[in-house]
Symmetry: C2
Amino acid sequence: MQPHVVIIGGGFGGLNAAKALRGAPVRVTLLDRHNYHLFQPLLYQVATATLSPGDVASPIRWILRRAPNVRVLLGEVVVIDVQRRQVRLEDGTEIAYDYLIVAAGSSHTYFGHDEWAPHAPGLKTLEDALEMRRRILLAFERAERETDAARRQELITFVLVGGGPTGVELAGTLAEIARQTLRHEFQSIDPGRARVVLVEAGPTILPSFPPRLREAARSSLRRLGIEVREATTVTGVDAHGVLLRRDGIDDRLAAGTVLWTAGVTASPLLRTLGAPLDRAGRVMVAPDLSVPGHPEVFVIGDAAAAVDRDGRQLPGVAPVAIQQAQHVARGILRRLRGASTAPFAYRDKGNLAIVGRGAAIADLGWLRFSGVLAWIFWLFLHIFELIGFRNRLMVLVQWAVAYVTFQRSVRLITNVERPERYERSERSG
Amino acid sequence: MQPHVVIIGGGFGGLNAAKALRGAPVRVTLLDRHNYHLFQPLLYQVATATLSPGDVASPIRWILRRAPNVRVLLGEVVVIDVQRRQVRLEDGTEIAYDYLIVAAGSSHTYFGHDEWAPHAPGLKTLEDALEMRRRILLAFERAERETDAARRQELITFVLVGGGPTGVELAGTLAEIARQTLRHEFQSIDPGRARVVLVEAGPTILPSFPPRLREAARSSLRRLGIEVREATTVTGVDAHGVLLRRDGIDDRLAAGTVLWTAGVTASPLLRTLGAPLDRAGRVMVAPDLSVPGHPEVFVIGDAAAAVDRDGRQLPGVAPVAIQQAQHVARGILRRLRGASTAPFAYRDKGNLAIVGRGAAIADLGWLRFSGVLAWIFWLFLHIFELIGFRNRLMVLVQWAVAYVTFQRSVRLITNVERPERYERSERSG
C-alpha cells in the first residue's frame, strides 16, 4: 500500500498541496469542514453585496476531480495525535497518516475581548461575509424607519477596525454603496450622508506597503469621504458604537455598525499538536516547515509561524501558503526517495490592494504604481487566479454590470433568523 | 394630503399593485419583512445549486426606485386593525391607511403534522432553498464517509412529497445532479445509484395539466430513473425515511432526505382581519377582491380565496396575483373618482412545467406541446419574466454554463450552523 498523506484544510495551502501530490506515488486524503474552497481575496465583495457566495467558492471535490489518488472528505478534525500518527474527526472517526500536512488556517480574534464579537463581525468565512452584508444593508433599512435624527445618523455610521488591505477594501466599497448604489432609493434618509470611519491601531494604514503608495491610498480614501484614524486604539465596542483612544485621549464614536478586520489567530486545533506556538497561536515550524521532533508532520499557511531568510515573519497571504504547499509536497516526495528536505524560501512577487472604483496600489518590488492602472491590474490578476471557468466568467460579468450600472445587486438581507422548524434536526443530524 | 394606500407584501401581488399605482394621486407604502422580491418560479434552482440566491431575488427598493409616490419599508406586519384602519409592525409602529392591499402570501403546511417539519423542509423562502441545497449536498458527502452499505444507500435516497410542478422540477433536477453533475467525483459511492422517489397523494401528478401532457411528464421522469408513486399518502416522516400508504397497504421507505412540496397555507396574519377564511386559511373575498364589509381592504394572490366566473378556485400562481394586483389598483382609483369597483375575472394564459434537460410541458389552452420546444419556451419565458437586466443576464449565463458543462456550481453547503458569536446581538438588535 502506498504511503498515506493526510491534508487538513482545503484553503490555498491544503488545496495546492493536494494538487502538487496529484499522480504521485502516495494516497492523499484531504479533509475540510466545508465542501468548498473559498477564494478569500474576494470575500469582502460578498460582504458588500457585489458578488454571490457561489462566485468566490468552488466545491473542493470538483476542483480535485481529476486527481484519482486524492480522496476528499467533508469533516472537521478535532484532534491531531502525533504519537499514534492519526487525526480524529468530530464524530470520533480516526484516520491514520504516514505524512500529515496541517493547513488549518486562522480565524479573527478580538485580542481577549470576545464580548465585542456580537457587535463587530469579522470576515473569514462565507457565513461571516453574509452576516456583514446583512448588517450593512439592514443599517440603511433601519435608518429609513427611524424617526429620531441622531439615532438615524448613528445607524448610517460605519466603523471599520483594522487598516490592512481588507479594512481599506471594505471602507472603499462601503462608501461607494452609500454614495452611489443606494443614492436615490430612500425617502427619509440620504444614504450619501453615511459616515465611514477606518480605525487603525498602528501608526499607519497598509503597513506592508511603501509610504508613497500608502499616501496614494489615503488620498483615494479621502476622495471617497472616508475618515482615516491612524494610531488610534479601540478600547470598547458595544451595540451603539466604539470607544477610541488616541494619544491617551478617549473618544466615543456612535455607530450602528462596526466591522472587524483587525486581528487573526491560528486554528485552535494546532494546540493538540503539542508543539510550541507563537503569540498568534501559530506553530513554530522548522526551516523545512515540519514540526520539530516530527519530521512527518508539516504546517503551512496561516497556521505556520515561518520566517524569511532574513528572520522576518512571513505574512498570512495566499502566495505564502501556495508556495509552502508546493515545497512541502516536494519535501514528502524527496523523503520517499530517501533524500532529505530543503529549507523553505519565500519568493515575494508583490503586494496589491484596491481602494475603490479605479483606485488601487501595486508594489511589485521592481515597480510601484497606483491609480487606474493598478486597479486594472488588480482586476485581471484576481479573475485569473480564481478557480474554475464558471467562477471567472460569473465574476467578470458581475463586475462589468456593477461598473456600468453602479448597482450591487446581491443586496439581500438573508439569514435574519434561522427558521425554527429546522433547528431540531440540526442537532440530531 | 393624498389618500394613503398600504400594501402588505412584496411578492408578485404586492409589487405589481405598487407598480400599478405609480404616479397615481395616492401615497403608497409597501411593507415586506424581506428587503427583496423573490422570483419564486426559479427558487427550486437555488435549492438544487444551479442558481445563486442573488439571481432570483431583487431589492424591492431598487425595483420601485422610479416610483416617487411609493415608500418601501422593511418590516413585518403582525396585526391588521380594520376598525381603526391601521396596521401594526413587529416593533409596535402603527401605520394608518385609507386603502389596504393584503398580499401576504402563503407558506407550506404539513397538514397538522408539524413534527415532520424538521425532517422534510419545504420551499417557500430563500432560507428554505438554502436548507434544501444543504441537505441534498450533505447527503452525498455523508454517504461518501459512511461504511455501512445499507445506510449508504439510505443516505442517497431522496423522497419528494407532492407531485405538483415544484415536486416534478425538483425530482428532475435531483436526478440530473446525481447521474451527471456528481458522477465522477466520489470514491466510496456511485452517485448514479441515488434513488429519487416522487410521492403524490392524489390520483395523478401535475393534476392541473391535461392527461396527454401528464403522460409526457411521466415518461420524462421515468427516463431520468425517477420512481413516481401516485395515489400514495405519506403517513409518517422521521430522520430515516417516510411511511407510505397505498390502497390501505403500509410501506416504509428508508431515505436520508425528504423534501416537502405538498401543501400551502395562507399567512397567519390574515386571521387578524376578522374576515371568514377558507380551509387553507385564505380570505373569502368579494367578487371585487375586497373583504366583505370592508370595501377599503383588498386581498390578493395566495392570501385570497377567489373564484373563477365558473365558481372554480383560482390557483396560487404568479399570473393570478399579478392580474389581481392590477385589478385592485384600478379599483382603488375608480373609487377615488367616485365610481364603483368591478368584479375580477382571471384570464388564464396557460400552464408550464419543466421536468429536466430538454423536457417540459406547456398547455396554452389553444396549443399543447411537450419536449424540447416546451423546454425552450419555458427557458425564454422565465428569463423574460425575471425582474432586472442583471438577473436576466446572470441566469442566462449560469444556465448556459450548466447546460454545456453539466455542472451546478453553486454547490455550497452553507449555514451548517449559525456562528454562535453573533447570536447574542441577534436578539438584542
